[in-house]
Amino acid sequence: MTLAALPQFSIPLLMGNSLNVWSEALVGFSPMGLPLGMVILAAIPLVFIALYSLTYGVYGERKISAFMQDRLGPMEVGKWGILQTIADILKLLQKEDIVPTSADKFLFVIGPGVLFVGSFLAYAVLPFSSAFIGASLNVGLFFAIGIVAIEVVGILAAGWGSNNKWSLYGAVRSVAQIVSYEIPAGIALLCGAMMAGTLDMQKITMLQSGSYGFAHFYLFHSPIAWLPFLIYFIASLAEVNRAPFDIPEAESELVAGYFTEYSGMKFAVIFLAEYGSMFMVSAIISIVFLGGWNSPLPNIGSFALNEWTNGPVWGAFWIIMKGFFFIFVQMWLRWTLPRLRVDQLMYLCWKVLTPFAFVSFVLTAIWEIYVP
């Protein structure tokens, strides 16, 4: 591409739907029969999220916790410590990659990889805007719930492979927790799917668009929609091992849980996967209950706020903002609440969240059938 051609290219890029044209052209790009364009397209959100996770997730967590604790947080590297995370990653890259002698090497090495893949595969089905979705599966929601379960395998591999008692405790706790909390989480999301009548994430989002903005969101769809929303939010905290459900990595009890023995880049990968999962569950809750990439602003008379703030680029803005909001809430909770005990956690899941999830499921079904 010559320099002169650039303006012609960049203007349509910013104009809404031509992104679609651009991405479809890229999908068609397959030199020598290799679907390279597909790979690139699917990799873009991953790259974005990786960048987000590394720089803004970790940095944000440190700054937010610092704000809550009367501290400054990172201030040395770059202005306001903006480059702190990059410095940390460079440090972790240089570190010696230690594999304990008594560890099961295969499991030890494969654990973080599986964890990473499990947490990032779900990004494929997250619609980042009306024009941008990695894989528009018609069972997207189901895929997103299911693929997260792969993380359990990674955690178990890491915990067992470390051959460390603390790691084993962490892994066993984690698996018990994630598997248990998938039930209320899954049922809560099913309520959303019932309201939409589809499992396609893109369609779920589209069904929540309208000129009244936030009023079309499924959170306000029925009088009981807040219940599955709340249940999913609590269960998602447990699924991504965030406080107050961070018992698998409870640092004061289990040293660091399943990643006690990890150091260097493997540790960074586990960390990255954790922050990736945080954004993923935040994006899922925004898509199912808060309209995904739809603008929450309503049209007021002649001020067509909703139309002005909708579109593929705006869509990416809205979903990322919504995701960030939930991440902020997660961090807020983490730096405020103590940790539950392992039996209290299970009690909460099986005796509180699951029954209420069933209740909300039935009520949503009744609402969907009898209320036009």
Partner: protein, 400 residues
């Protein structure tokens, strides 16, 4: 690869790699597992090792192993002069150095039978109570960390910083003061000290309320501590518990009131006890509550001391400090109420030397920790962490 039978644990398959034996697998006895908690563990508050026999997450037995921080305090004492022991006492309970010095000074002064200027006594009480607040702040903050609440810890440390600043101003050191000397003080307090202390008291009162709301009233915190690690009063007395631990079990016992020393009889303060409404008496929450409420009492004591303190005119903090400490032959046991309980010094003098014949420290942490085996039986691992945190040990004092 070969089969071995190590310590009767059944057949174990091992492989030899250079010099170290690598255990691959053994007859998977799934009932019990030995779990070494510490000495390098985040919530053992130092270098304590607990060897836990665990059945799943349930602890069948936890035995504390001590001595990782043993510095031969008592042997050292036999080889230095009486005043030179003061810095060593700082290093016993390093979170409450003033209180340790205070206890030691009382013991030697009892042995020497000297009269202490009144102003010295008041300054001693002020710095000791300030240090008590600092120590309780650490106890409460780290207890929060043990239970997963990180933020209260930093709030506590922020406030503790003011106290350390005040004590540094008075003594020149932040933690290991060497301020309370035998027969007096190293220096008089700076001229504005009382004003600043008053400012701190006014600043700190609302902070305790915030801390109370953030941690003590937190639903999850209460769930984690209420009814955990219950110690009945009679067992606690039999173990020789003291301080907030004993009061947490509902025993109304405070050396500042029951065996008064210094100017404490002139001061008006309450001894907080758990009332059994919020907590079950004797559980972790009771001990935490006692500490939280004691800070308020310490503030009261400090305020009264500032009001009653004689002025600094013509005051020499070293006027009663003996040039050479050589007590008559005899022995003495003096004790003081430290943040962690009763710290007693038993000192024996042969009447000839300027060094003690024997100097034994009766450490409260050590005694409190001895109940670990009873407390931990049948608890979960997270509860064990909660129990250790509630004992509030300082390994410097346990191991000495």
């Amino acid at each position: 690869m070969q089969e071995l039978d190590i310590a009767g644990q059944g057949s174990i398959r091992v492989t030899r790699k250079s010099n170290n034996v690598v255990i691959l697998e053994k007859d998977l006895a799934t009932e019990q597992m030995v779990l070494a908690m510490g000495p390098q563990h985040p919530s053992t508050h130092g270098v304590l090792k607990l060897e836990c026999l665990t059945d799943g997450e349930v602890i069948t037995e936890a035995v504390p192993y001590l001595g990782y921080l043993h510095r031969c305090f008592e042997k050292c004492c036999e080889n230095v002069d009486y005043p030179a022991i003061v810095p060593y006492t700082d290093r016993l309970d390093y979170l409450a150095g003033m209180n340790s010095e205070f206890a030691y000074a009382i013991a030697v002064e009892k042995l020497l039978d000297v009269e202490i200027p009144r102003r010295v006594e008041f300054i001693r009480v002020i710095v000791a109570e300030l240090n008590r607040i600092a120590s309780h702040l650490v106890a409460i903050g780290t207890y929060g960390i043990d239970l997963g609440a990180f933020t209260p810890f930093l709030f506590c440390f922020r406030d503790r910083e003011h106290i350390l600043g005040l004590l540094e101003w008075a003594s020149g050191a932040r933690m290991l003061y060497n301020y309370i000397w035998v027969g007096g003080l190293a220096y008089d307090v700076p001229s504005d000290f009382n004003k600043r202390v008053k400012e701190f008291v006014d600043y700190f009162r609302p902070q305790t309320v915030e801390l109370y709301k953030l941690l003590t009233e937190n639903e999850i915190f209460v769930k984690r501590t209420k009814g955990i690690g219950i110690m009945p009063a009679d067992v606690a007395i039999n173990y020789g518990w003291s301080g907030p631990m004993l009061r947490g079990s509902g025993v109304d016992w405070d050396l500042r009131r029951n065996d008064p020393y210094s100017v404490y009889p002139e001061l008006d303060f309450k001894v907080p006890l758990p009332d059994g409404k919020v907590s079950d008496i004797g559980d972790c929450l009771s001990r935490h509550l006692v500490r939280a409420l004691e800070m308020e009492e310490s503030l009261k004591i400090i305020e009264q001391c500032i009001d009653k303190m004689p002025s600094s005119e013509g005051f020499n903090p070293r006027s009663a400090v003996p040039k050479r400490v050589r007590p008559k032959a005899g022995e003495v046991y003096a004790r003081a109420e430290n943040p962690r309980g009763e710290l007693g010094f038993y000192i024996q003098s042969d009447g000839k030397s300027t060094k003690p014949l024997r100097c034994k420290a009766r450490s409260s942490c050590f005694v409190n920790l001895s109940a670990m085996k009873d407390l931990s039986k049948g608890q979960l691992i997270p509860d064990l962490v909660a129990i250790i945190g509630s004992i509030d040990i300082v390994l410097g004092e346990v191991d000495r």
